[in-house]
Symmetry: C2
Subunit: 668 residues, 2 copies
């Protein structure tokens, strides 16, 4: 840390980066007062803020105390905010904040920037990868349908369901960014935040409380930086070995259908790692499509004999996965149990509070109550793990209403963004307590600061069964890259997408392109979508099935390679899907590539994300790259390769120690 | 004025209304700093503001000086703003502002309110009449196509042309409102403003400079209030007598077509007051439709012999009207003339600045230059009045770009909202100097503070040829009522609407309903729309023509009644179209009726504005009302009457001194 200051002016730099510049003409911190309205409709929020005050803290008195600095900011002589700056034992710059006047509930801080700087992260971002030039409201919510106000599907979703979303909507926001200057910056708050990267000289970070602290550290390389970040936020465990044996097929409809479909898939040569039956606890039909019965126990009518079949399948090498989320369906057994013990969030007056999930209503398990957590862990252990489930989708986490009351007394506005973390922790601990951390797969879409250490894997959320850039196949690539830089190294997506609404129906081509991409992600898993009958499915025809079979063979072929990457992720936080600049930091172009990625160190993947495209323009950073299908070697720059269905644009590094294995992809 | 104050607390009331309440905990004035971006695309603005400071001026020192008060506000002891409060000779409360620190460019003031209070005005508002519960950005612009983000046509207009607009978009904003507590409040500024009526205890008025003053006055009745308002802003002259002789037919295409159409209309029994040929100066074809050649002189090729025919028509009792706006088409004669004399707005460096009007580009005549005004008045007098035109559409006025440079040195951001006023003044003075104030009709859509004294009549702008509430037939009713309360007592609209885009085509039914309504407005005028071939026209079939003929006969029959109302408007600012509460202030329901109006004192008009409707539910304030068609008398409340095409829901007051005349409507 280097600090220079004189009267009313201070500059702080850390490891050679200027971090903070303040003087009375250009104050770096503002406090204010705002009155927000949160209008939630089924996980979609309309949030408005009436900011009545925004005060520049122009005056700053600096006191040095044995290597740390106490900055006292004021507006009019009356001290208003203390900022205490230290370098932590780990070598990070930490600036802690203390408001001296409790009336302020809005906070802005300007982190120094340069005009050409690029920034990434902010959780899982699906539209932008380099975030510079936009602001990013950070509030966990439904990700939006279409996510682009210029798209017709977004218009329909907005007008029918308030659900269209915009470029910044995400299940997983995090007030942390990574700069191409090889530093990360984290603001410790779970309040609503908005990171504004539109200014040339600074990044303005806003949050709706006084944050605990700002943490910043720089490294000499990006790999060192993600190691540092995951040292802070936690690291995911290694993927269970069985996940890499093939695809996890999303199947619904009961035991017989599941067994028949598994047999048919195997007969067609599909490598199957598991069956994921999200309706294992039964169904409920609504106008959105078939919805699940959110009372987390085996539905023995819909899945007769599953208690036995689940173990028979396991012996055949096929795992059975289910589904859970942090809500319990009104009037069902778990709801009643939770309610009777006071384990549900309530209204202010202690009365019943249920959340509308679209024609059905649920209680919110109050994870701020340790007993409620224990109880829910018990549900997971008894009803799911002991029953034989080897994994599940740990859905939702974004719907904590801001006007409910929680047992820890903290405002739900502040708890809202923390809920995914709490939800991940409950699941992780249930698994850990069952001694199954290395064998159970669970995947979440919601996230926030700290899920890295608890949420084992992410999936990209509910993409449209569509080609649209902001909410289709393409969007999961920046999603994987941004969340990977935050320390979530294992990411995947529903093969073929999920949301089947407003006329969108999954085509065969889309399914195939998505399957091809997902063979080069850490997990292959299919989903029927919310309206399965409208969608092309993996088994809709023999050609699709054969194509999938081949992709699962490639995936299984890559098992040792992915397994090693998963180990590296567990040990050093190195994401399995990586931006090109992770290993090619000298390459300027690499910083703007958002629809390609490195898969492990030595594979470069450029998914076809446009309908009808059979050639692919690919950017290769300077290296020796072998196109897996033609065997042709390229040395860098933009190249065009044939990429018909079945031959996704994939390259391996000639110098890879796994070159033989990677070359083998072409044998399928 | 009544002022009570002690340390840091002051309350000001005027004529029994509490106007201003301030104390250190609830400051009434805020100053701030903002950095706005104005992105204009063809008159549609995307405006964003980055407010870096908003400071509550908590401290207030009051000095009394012979009946006036000087309030000195400060944030931190350093005086920041002076507010000098006096009662003017006219008895109005006037609070003048003086910033003591030039750095502030954002201003907020809270005017005291009560929770149940209703407010109106803010210029010409097309979606809301009672403005309470919303905020109203006040910036002159295109009014928007559809004007409702939930409508598909708005979506199309937004995505194709950035033109969809929203509830507040208007050609004519004015920072003035009228309260149901019978006071008006005006903020003297032409900067961007935003009046926020969402708070229970106050109205928060924002503007993007330090306003000169706030002016407020109350009266015992609404008629006295509009008299007061128009005493302030000016009053329109009486309508030319000939306007009340019949319809002004919107015709295009040349002399022969015009003469033929006029003859055919007369043959069909249509009472014709004039022909309005907006293409008298020739045309230009673009993808939007046929656009006019903006070089304001007779096109003798398109309109051969018009120089003679115009006087022949006048002898037959038919006036000829043209078109002009404040822009001159690049590379044409007027442009060259203006440019050579320095009469056009320029870029900052003095170089050429043209505005994109949709595939053609124009210079902006610089009305801040008195010589440019004189020159443009000369163009109007010579090319239009002397040529024989008896009226015109004085189009536009909203497109002053914020980044152009003007001769008076004032920022175009500040001049933008003043431009319609300047444009009205140029036209008025040209007419006045020609001695034709009582004989020439010109109509504008743009407006702002002070146009009342210069713009003789308004038309409602470019409605969709459609039934939609926010931009169709219905929308011109609140437009007439709101602008009427601001002192613009003569309002009308294009019969059948104008904007023919995105699949909207004018139907026969819409045309007929609109014609029926406009027979009960001060001016009847038809428009072919921007794509005439897509629209049903007044002469598309014999039935339409006969229907129009009958409506023009009714209109002409009402001539003495309308003429008297026009006189009252000229003398006392009493609008011809009036909200029901104007004369029924005890009637609570009357304050929320936005799609009915009083036409003069004694007619109540409830236009059918829904497709297919043949019965009309009408609200009648307590009085004796005679339904013109059935002769049935009603005494008040909600009633339902038959309203087939040809029998619009119109009632006259039984006690009217014009009862015989009004009864005569039924004879047509």
């Amino acid at each position: 840390m280097n600090v220079t200051h004189n009267e009313n002016s201070i500059t702080i730099s850390h490891k050679g980066r200027t971090v903070f510049k303040h003087d009375s003409q250009n104050p770096a911190i503002f406090l204010g007062v705002g009155d927000a309205e949160y209008d939630m409709y089924r996980g979609n929020f309309k949030i408005t803020d009436y900011v009545t005050e925004r005060l520049p803290l122009r005056k700053c008195v600096v006191q040095e105390q044995a290597g740390s600095y106490l900055l006292t900011f004021s507006l009019d002589g009356e001290p208003t905010l203390e900022m205490s700056v230290v370098v932590t034992d780990r070598g990070r710059l930490k600036a802690s904040f203390k408001a001296l006047d409790a009336r302020y509930n809005r906070f802005w801080i300007r982190v120094s920037a340069t005009a050409e700087e690029k920034v990434y992260g902010c959780g899982e971002q699906l539209t932008y990868f380099n975030l510079r030039g936009k602001n990013f409201p950070l509030w966990s919510s439904e990700p939006g349908v279409g996510r682009n106000k210029n798209s017709y599907v977004t218009f329909l979703a907005d007008t029918k369901d308030k659900a269209g979303g915009d470029y910044y909507n995400t299940n997983y926001p995090q007030p942390t960014f990574v700069s191409d200057k090889k530093y990360f910056c984290h603001l410790e708050t779970t309040a609503y935040a908005d990171f504004d990267f539109t200014n040339a000289d600074f990044h303005e970070l806003q949050c709706w409380n006084i944050p605990e602290y700002l943490l910043l550290d720089a490294e000499e390389s990006f790999p060192a930086l993600v190691e540092n970040i995951t040292d802070l936020f936690g690291r995911q465990p290694e993927l269970p070995d069985w996940v890499l044996n093939g695809v996890i097929l999303g199947i619904q409809g009961g035991t017989e259908i599941t067994l028949n479909k598994l047999q048919a898939a195997k007969d067609a040569g599909v490598e199957v790692a598991g069956a994921w039956c999200q309706d294992w606890q039964g169904k409920k039909v609504t106008s959105f499509g078939k919805r699940l019965r959110w009372n987390w126990e085996w539905d023995s009518e819909m899945y007769p004999d599953l208690d036995k079949k689940i173990f028979e399948l396991k012996e055949q090498g096929i795992r059975f996965l289910g589904y859970i989320n942090p809500y319990v369906l009104e009037d069902h057994s778990l709801y009643k149990e939770a309610e009777s013990q006071g384990f549900l969030a309530t209204k202010k007056d202690g009365s019943k509070y249920v959340v509308d999930f679209g024609e059905f209503y649920c209680g919110v398990v109050d994870f701020t109550n340790p007993e409620a957590c224990e109880w829910y862990k018990g549900v997971i252990k008894t009803n799911m793990i002991d029953f034989g489930l080897d994994g599940w989708m740990g859905d939702f986490g974004e719907y904590l209403p801001t006007d409910c009351t929680l047992s820890n007394g903290v405002s739900a506005e502040i708890e809202h963004n923390k809920w995914p973390y709490r939800w991940a922790k409950v699941q992780h601990e249930a698994i850990e307590e069952a001694g199954k951390t290395d064998d159970i797969l669970f995947f979440m879409r919601a996230g926030g600061t700290g899920i890295q250490g608890y949420c084992h894997t992410l999936w990209g959320g509910d993409q449209l069964v569509d080609w649209c850039i902001d909410d289709g196949l393409a969007s999961v690539i920046p999603a994987a890259l941004s969340s990977g830089l935050m320390g979530n190294g294992i990411h995947h997506s529903d093969i073929g997408g999920y949301t089947t609404l407003h006329g969108c129906k999954r085509s065969k081509e889309l399914f195939q392109r998505w399957a091809e991409m997902n063979a080069f992600t850490p997990i292959m898993r299919s989903h029927e979508g919310n309206r399965p009958d409208d969608n092309h499915q993996y088994d809709s025809d023999a050609e699709t099935l054969a194509h999938l079979a081949r992709m699962t063979k490639i995936f299984k072929h890559l098992k040792p390679y992915i397994k090693a990457a998963s180990k590296e992720n567990a040990e050093k936080g190195m994401p399995i899907q990586r931006p090109l600049f992770m290993h090619y930091e000298q390459d300027n172009e690499a910083y703007e590539i958002k629809f390609q990625y490195l898969f492990g160190r030595d594979l470069l993947v450029a998914p076809v994300y446009n309908q009808g495209e059979v050639e692919k323009e690919v950017y290769l950073p300077e290296d020796e790259w072998v196109h897996v299908w033609s065997g042709e070697t390229y040395t860098g720059g933009w190249v065009t390769v044939d990429a018909p269905i079945g031959r996704p644009a994939v390259f391996y590094r000639k110098a890879s120690k796994d070159a033989e294995l990677l070359k083998g992809i072409a044998s399928y």
